[in-house]
Each structure stands twice: as C-alpha cells, then as structure tokens.
C-alpha cells in the first residue's frame, strides 16, 4: 500500500499575532500508483504542503499517512522522496553526481556502485557520467540526476515540486516524459506540484486546486478540466486557454477581474475566494452566504468547495 493521505493537515508559520496559516486543514489523497497534480498561485501553500509531507516543516495540526501509517513514526529513511524546483541548488556542487546518488542509497546494501549506474541509466544518462560534477551538466541533466537520487531510496511516493519551471522550454518536455515513464514503470504514487496547468494536465490522473491554503477543487483530471466546478478553477483554465483580448466585460465583472489577490496574512472571511469571484457577492446580490460561511467541499469523486458549485 502506498497511498499518501493528508488528513486535516495545517501548517502555521510565525507567532500567534503575526503568523500565517500557509496550509489550512487540508484533506488530500494521492491514490496508489497515481499522479495527483496540485495547482495554485504562489503563496497558496502548495510547496509548504510538499515540504510538510517529507518532514522538512513541522505540522501544526492533522496527520499525514502513508499506506495507513503515519509518516512521522518511520525512522530515518522515509519512503517519500522529493524532487526540487531548481536543479542547480538541489545538487551539492562539491560532490560528483555519483556520490550524490550513492548517498541516498540505503546503507549496507551491497553493490552501491552498480546501483548508482543502474539509477543513472534509469533516468536516461549513461553510467560513466557518475564522476562528473553538477556544473558540468545542463539543467535538464541535473534534474535527471535529482530524480535518480530520489529513486535511490526505493521510495513509494515521489513529491515533485515545480520540477520544470527552472528549465529552458526546449528541455522541459524531456523531463516530463521521463517523469511519466518512470512513474509508470515503477508504479509510483506522485504528488506533482506546478503553477502551469498545461504541464499538470499532461502528467496527472487527478487534479487538486489550491487557493489560500485550502483545496478548493479535487477530482479526476479529465473531469476537472472539462467540467470545472469551482469558479477559481474556471478562472485558471480561462487564463491559459483563451486568447487575450480586452473584452467587453460589464463593470462589476471587470472590477472583480482586477481585484488583487488576497493577503494570506488576512484571509477574507467566509469563502476565501469571494472578493475575486465572478459569481460571488461582488457581482450578484443574493450571495451573502459566501461572505459569511465557508463552503464545505462536496461531491464525489469530484469535490468542489463552493456554495454554488452546481451553477455556472
């Protein structure tokens, strides 16, 4: 069993008065052997959630279960591994890539050298590159090495945090292909974080949308993309697929479209999206409920946290 489950996970930074709740009671499941894409704007808490899962940030509340067991309880090498955004900072510049990978191979396993070569070949690099330093490789190759290192600990879950956004566009595709191939070959569960909806669409089986520390929509990728139920998801989709034209919006819609993103230190009451919502209280009169009550995610298997998820 390698299902990764977040149950009521909260992460809070800073003190009582000036603190910031980056992740607020998040429930999220990465089914066994599946890829869940997590999208949202910067500051929505995506990366915090990822770092909390691998234990780099302590939880303030809730728990994270892997195959029904808390990841906290496990000793040194958790079966969860992470690949980071910037390959130039995620590899130690003073270690050969072979050493970097070998370090992540569990100790006491015989044939470490052979294992390093096997891993390098798994990510499409030839084994004789093990003696090179990260500075001698391109960004895309470094990202392959980072993936090989994550695979060295025989993980059951991989967390990929914006792994293509620091790469040149001509190289992104190769890394995405690799992630897909490796995931299918090894049957890994993957939490794939990106701000780029097109990239997420390409790799994910399920999509979760995060806004200001909350999951606002979750469901099978094709359903979320074809029939988004939350207005924020619709906004995201429109932003990447429609041509940009000034459009003739009515003034209320225009005002909503130009609203600044909310300050995470002072999230709005009720539904957090209501000040920017094109079908919320800023546009329609009968929507006071959005200001007063926080919507509970509903629907199965396609969840949406919106009082008016059924409407368009």
């Amino acid at each position: 069993m390698s299902e990764l489950r977040f149950e009521g996970v909260s992460v809070r930074y800073g003190g009582h008065r000036h603190g910031l709740t980056a992740v607020d009671t998040v429930d999220l499941t990465v089914p066994e052997g599946r890829v869940v894409g997590l999208v949202g704007e910067s500051g929505s808490g995506k990366s915090t959630l990822a770092r909390a899962a691998v234990g780099l940030i302590p939880l303030t509340g809730g728990r994270i279960l892997l195959g029904g067991q808390s990841v906290r309880r496990r000793r040194s090498r958790p079966p969860l591994q992470m690949v980071f955004q910037d390959p130039s900072s995620s590899l130690d510049p003073r270690m050969t890539i072979g050493d970097s990978i070998a370090e992540a191979v569990p100790r006491g396993r015989p044939g470490r050298r052979a294992e390093v070569i096997r891993l390098l070949e798994l990510v499409g690099l030839s084994g004789d590159r093990a003696r090179l330093y990260p500075a001698q490789l391109s960004g895309g190759q470094c990202q392959r090495v980072a993936l090989a290192r994550a695979l060295a600990g025989d993980p059951r879950v991989i967390i990929a945090d914006e792994i293509t956004s620091a790469l040149d566009v001509s190289i992104q595709g190769a890394v995405l292909n690799l992630v897909r191939d490796v995931q299918r070959e090894l049957g890994l569960s993957v939490l794939f974080i990106s701000h780029d909806l097109a990239v997420v669409r390409y790799v994910s089986d399920f999509i979760a949308v995060m806004y200001l520390g909350r999951i606002v929509e979750y469901g099978p990728a094709d359903q979320v993309l074809a029939r988004p139920r939350h207005p924020y998801t619709r906004e995201l989709l429109a932003a990447v697929s429609e041509p940009v034209d000034p459009g003739d919006l009515d003034p209320a819609l225009r005002a909503v479209a130009d609203t600044e993103p909310a300050d995470p230190h002072h999230p709005p009451p009720g539904c957090r999206y209501h000040p920017r919502c094109p079908m919320g209280p800023a546009v329609l009169d009968d929507r006071d409920i959005c200001r007063e009550h926080e919507p509970v995610p509903q629907g199965h298997p396609h969840l949406a946290a919106c009082h008016f998820a059924a409407e368009r």
């Binding site: 704007e41 691998v54 780099l56 040194s76 090498r77 958790p78 969860l80 992470m82 980071f84 955004q85 900072s89 995620s90 590899l91 130690d92 510049p93 003073r94 270690m95 050969t96 970097s100 992540a104 499409g124 003696r131 090179l132 330093y133 500075a135 190759q141 290192r149 994550a150 060295a152 040149d168 566009v169 001509s170 190289i171 992104q172 595709g173 190769a174 995405l176 292909n177 897909r180 191939d181 701000h195 909806l197 097109a198 669409r201 390409y202 993309l225 906004e235 995201l236 932003a239 990447v240 697929s241 940009v244 034209d245 000034p246 459009g247 225009r254 479209a257 130009d258 600044e260 993103p261």
Partner: protein, 634 residues
C-alpha cells in the same frame, strides 16, 4: 576529474600580492619550526661581559640585560609567537564552528538559544573579552591562548551561523535530510565544504590578529612568562632601554609587523582570488560576414519602429544579437519568443537605447516614429523616448525606487518631459493609475512600491509608461513572475491600452503559448537571429522553421495529445560566445545536412510577408513535427 575548486586556489598564487604574501608566510612558518631547533643555544647563551650592547658585527641587534644575543632571541621567539597564535586561532575557529553550527547539530530550539548567546557575545569588543578571559584563566601562556581563542570565537560563530543558514536553506541540504542523513554527516558532507572558503580566509586574517593580540598580552605581562619568551615579552624587555639601545625593541617589533602582515596579506589575497566566482569568458573572434536580412516590405506612415540589421556586440567579438530586422506599425502587437541566450532581451534593450558600455549597438537603420535614433542629439532622443516610448520589465520591484511613493515616481516623468507643475503632474499620475485600473488610485499613489502586489506594481509600471502618450510599449517578460490569473489581468490591460490608444506593443517572452495568445505576429529568435516571422494565427500548423515547430511540440498546452511523449529538442541552446559556423540550430535539427552546417541561411520573405531562415523550410514546411523525428536524450 579535479574538483572545480582547485584551480581557484592556484589562481590565488598567480597574482603578485598572492605570490609575495604566500612566500612571506611560508618563510615565517619555516622560521617558526626551524629557528628553535637551530639557535636555541645561541639565544640562551649568557655573556655577562656584553650587557646591553648596541648592534655590532658579532651581535647584529645588540644584546639584552643578561648579554644574550637579541637577534637570535627574536628568531627563536618566532616559534612560540607563531605557534601560540595558531593555537589560539584554532581554538577560536573550532569553538566558533561548533557554536555557529548549533542550529544544525542541536535542532532549531536549542540552536536559537545558542545563537542568542553568540549575538550577545559579539556585542563585546574582542580586546575586552581577551582581557576578561586572561584574568579568568590566570596569567601565563596557556591562559593567554585560551583567552585569545575564546575572544575570537564569537565573531567566528556569527560568521559560521550566517553562512550555514544560507547553505542549509538550499535544496540539496533538504534533499540530504529527506534521504535520512544524520546531523553530523549533513554538516560534514554538505554544509561545511560549501562554507569553507570564507571561513579559511577569515581564519587566516584572524591568525594575524591573534599574533598581534598575543604580543600585546605578553607585552602587558599577562602572556608568556620568563624564562620563556615571545616577541611581546622581548618587546617589553627592550622597551625599557629604548633611548639607549633602540635595536632591542625594534627587532621584535619588526618581527611582529612582518609576521602579522604575512597572515593578513595572504588572507586578503585568497579572499580576492576566491571572490572571483566566474571564470573570465573566453571570447572568440569571428571574421566572417553574416547574411544580412532584407528589410520587410510594406512600410508606411504608421510605422512606429523600423529596425534593420541590428547588432549588439561586446568586446572580444561576441555578438549576442546578430543582424535583426523587423518593423512595428501603430497599434500592432508583435511578440519575440526565444530561450535564454537567444538575444531577445538585448534586442529590446537595444531598441530602448539601454545597452550600456562596453556593449555596442550598430544598425543599418534604427528609426522610432521616423526619426533615426542613432543620429539624434542626446537631448532630442531622450525627449522623444521619454514622451512616446515605454518599457515594462520582468521585475518592477527593481525598476521602482523603493524609497519613493508610487505617485511621486509617476509624476516625475511628467515634470521632466511635459513641463507639468508638481500638483498637475501628481493629478495626472492618479489619473493614469486609474486608467490602468489600480483600485483606489488616489490612496495608492501615496503608497510605496513594497505595498503593491506584483500585479499591481506591473500595472503601475504600465501607468508610468502612459504618463506621456506612448506610441510603443516594450514589455520584457512582463508576466513571468506573476501567477496565471494575474498574468491574464496584466496582458488584458496591455491589450486594452493598445486598443484604446493605438499603441504598438513589443512583447518579449520565453513562453510561446503566451505570445501566441496575445500577439498578432510572432518573431522567433534563436542564437541572436530571427529565424522565423509569422502571423500568430499561423501557429502551430503553418510554422516552417524546425525550431519553431520543435518548440511548439515540446511545450505542452491545453490541447496536447496526452498519450504521446512530448517532443524533445536534443542538445542545449547556443552559447553566445560560441556561435557555430552555419545555421546555429543545425546541431539540434533533425533535418540538418552539409549545407546547414556550412552556411547560415538568410531570412527570406514569402509572398505573404512571412519570413523564415532555413534551407529546408520548403521541404519540411506544412508537415507537423513528429515526436519521433526529434531524437530523445540531451
């Protein structure tokens, strides 16, 4: 394969200061080891017949109160002086390292306590600490070593803390943590090696200071006690008879100065050598002619910008922009797409006259609203650009002055260029902020840049460009740092400005999907040249250059086929310092042949005005790029 760090250390020795400092230091260290072995007897030999004599052939620096030879005593004292100073430095550095690395070794909570203590200790002057510890540990050599060592520790701890904090924030440390490495191994393998350089530099300089401090303590009688002697002790003995017999004080004094200099200069030399992070760029001279792209046809009065054969060169012959030609008419939106290093941003900067020395811009023609920018006098040119040209940068945080209110900064443009009064200019600023739909413009004009979110700052930047009546807005990656929804707001704003005021927009981006959705025409740049120029509506189906089509196939969009692997462009982008002969894309192109590797194809226009620079555009054109055509692997 040698570690990349080694050549850097060799480089230190190649500078004149480095060589002299290293030689001097080596001499001092050698003397410290050898002198006590060779001359201890001479230095200890008492000769009551020769008390307090001046310099002579027999005693170069004279003799002391017991008739001992001062010169030999100074030489022998090198051992004790340098040895004790190094010992004290070692204690200081080790203690400092341990304290500074506490947050990693002890965990966050205990680490914070240690850090707080270090911060308090740093507040005390070093000399005060040294004297305090000297009293605590008692008079004598060992007391002084501990005193100076501990006095050095806080500064080192502080430095270590800062460096360690920086490195431990990096992803590779996080990755090692996730891999389950213990704290000590984490520190030893990933953190310390990456903070070692500045620490070594500082330790070397600190050794110099320790040497001086030690001489000072001994001079005061708190350090080395008779019958042992170091330079400070000799100095104190010699100083009593300074007026009769100056050599006895000058000799140890000089020794202290020379040794101190040796340590400090060496420290400085490595600081300088190690500080030069990047290796100097190797420039390659290129003497052949570039094919010159012909100017696109069909210009008229509505021309805003006409660029012909624009080149940007840097000393040594690197040319990141190599003969770019294009034109913009009023109200037109044109996008330039390319990877990093393609020259797209430099093209924009060259048009804006923002290339600084030693960069050089040449062009057969560079006309803005019909006026040749190159030939105009500086004042006229500034006036022209100031009133009818606007530029929007990727990070508006750096293009606004953080200490001035937004409204003031906008108003300044009108005071400068339109001769408006202070009040009127501010009114216009508020009006313009409203025009770019900044909510509550009057209030926000009074705010500082940091009080604006990224999207709002970008709006204010556009508003600043609209203080005049711009004919052209150049936007260099204006939305790259923004989230998709905010990105859309900013692009929409630019689009409505264009529609309302007939402004031409040149949008620079690495993201072909953004350019495609925003612009009417797309220029694709590769290795400093335009390789294709086509209407956005022709993308993706009618793209003819293999690079354009590979780019489209490699970047997933919302309609990408899910079951097929994405196309991969093998190799990496061209380094502007090493542009190959022939077509720059040939090395990565599945259609490349001898012709491509031999000669750079010219940018040729077809009947519809679409331009492409490829020898095989007609062969490959019209056929969608298959993933299989592009080799997998990099």
């Amino acid at each position: 394969m040698p570690s990349p760090g080694k050549s850097k250390w060799a480089g230190v020795l190649r500078t004149p200061v480095g060589v002299s400092a290293a030689t001097l230091l080596a001499a001092v260290l050698l003397l410290a080891v050898v002198a006590p072995l060779l001359w201890s007897d001479e230095a200890a030999a008492v000769d009551t017949g020769q008390i307090l004599r001046g310099p002579s052939a027999e005693h170069w620096m004279g003799t002391d109160g017991l008739g001992r030879d001062v010169f030999h005593r100074v030489l022998v004292a090198t051992g004790l002086s340098v040895g004790l100073a190094l010992l004290a430095t070692a204690i200081g550095v080790l203690t400092g390292l341990l304290l500074g690395a506490a947050p990693i070794l002890l965990g966050a909570r205990a680490g914070r306590v240690v850090s707080a203590m270090v911060n308090i200790a740093v507040a005390f002057p070093g000399l005060l600490l040294a004297l305090f510890f000297a009293v605590v540990f008692g008079v004598g050599a060992s007391g002084a070593v501990l005193a100076i060592g501990f006095a050095l520790a806080p500064a080192f701890a502080r430095l270590t803390q800062t460096l360690v904090a920086k490195v431990s924030g990096l992803d590779y440390v996080a990755a090692a943590r996730i891999a389950g490495l213990g704290r000590v191994r984490l520190l030893a393998r990933h953190v310390l090696p990456n903070v070692a350089e500045p620490l070594v530099v500082n330790a070397t300089v600190a050794a110099g200071s320790a040497l001086l401090a030690f001489a000072g303590l001994s001079f005061l009688g708190l350090g080395v006690q008779a019958p042992a002697y170091d330079w400070g002790r000799l100095l104190a003995d010699g100083l009593a008879g300074l007026y009769i017999h100056p050599a006895a004080a000058l000799a140890p004094g000089t020794a202290v100065v020379v040794a101190g200099l040796a340590f400090n200069l060496f420290g400085e030399a490595i600081a300088k050598g190690v500080g030069l992070r990047s290796a100097p760029v190797v420039f390659r001279r290129r003497d052949r002619d570039e094919p010159v792209a012909p100017a696109p046809a069909g210009e008229d009065r509505r021309s805003v910008l006409a660029v012909e054969n624009l080149r940007v060169t840097f000393p040594g012959g690197t040319a990141p922009v190599r003969g770019v030609s294009f034109a913009l008419r009023r109200g037109e939106s044109v996008g330039i797409v390319g990877e990093s290093g393609s020259g797209k941003t430099l093209t924009a900067l060259a048009v804006a006259q923002l290339i600084e020395e030693p960069g050089e811009v040449t062009a057969d023609r560079l006309e803005f609203r019909g006026q040749p920018l190159h030939e105009l006098p500086d004042r006229t040119r500034q006036q022209l650009l100031g009133t009818s040209f606007a530029m929007v940068f990727q990070d508006p945080m750096t293009s606004f002055n953080p200490t001035q209110r937004i409204g003031r900064q906008l108003a300044e443009v009108s005071e400068q260029h339109h001769g408006l009064g202070r009040r009127q200019a501010l009114d216009r600023a508020i009006d313009r902020l409203q025009a770019v739909r900044v909510p509550a413009a009057a209030r926000r004009a009074k705010q500082f840049p940091h009080e604006f979110s990224g999207g709002m700052r970008q709006r204010a930047m556009i508003g600043m460009g609209m203080m005049g009546s711009p004919a052209l807005i150049v936007a260099d990656e204006p939305t790259t740092a923004l989230d998709v929804t905010v990105q859309r707001q900013v692009l929409r704003l630019l689009q409505s400005v264009r529609a309302a005021d007939d402004v031409a927009i040149l949008l620079i981006s690495h993201d072909i999907t953004v350019v495609r959705r925003f612009c009417e025409r797309v220029l694709v740049m590769y290795a400093g040249r335009i390789v294709e120029d086509l209407p956005a509506a022709d993308l993706p189906a009618r793209a003819r250059h293999p690079y354009t089509r590979a780019l489209l196939a490699a970047v997933p969009d919302m309609s990408t086929e899910l079951e097929r692997p994405l196309a991969v462009i093998p190799g990496r982008p061209v380094d502007p310092a090493r542009v190959p002969v022939g077509c720059a894309f040939a090395a990565r192109c599945p259609f490349a042949d001898e012709q491509c590797r031999g000669a750079d194809p010219p940018l040729v226009a077809d009947r519809e005005g679409r331009r492409v620079a490829c020898w095989h555009a007609d062969v490959t054109g019209g056929r969608p790029m298959m993933a299989e055509e592009v080799r997998v692997g990099e």
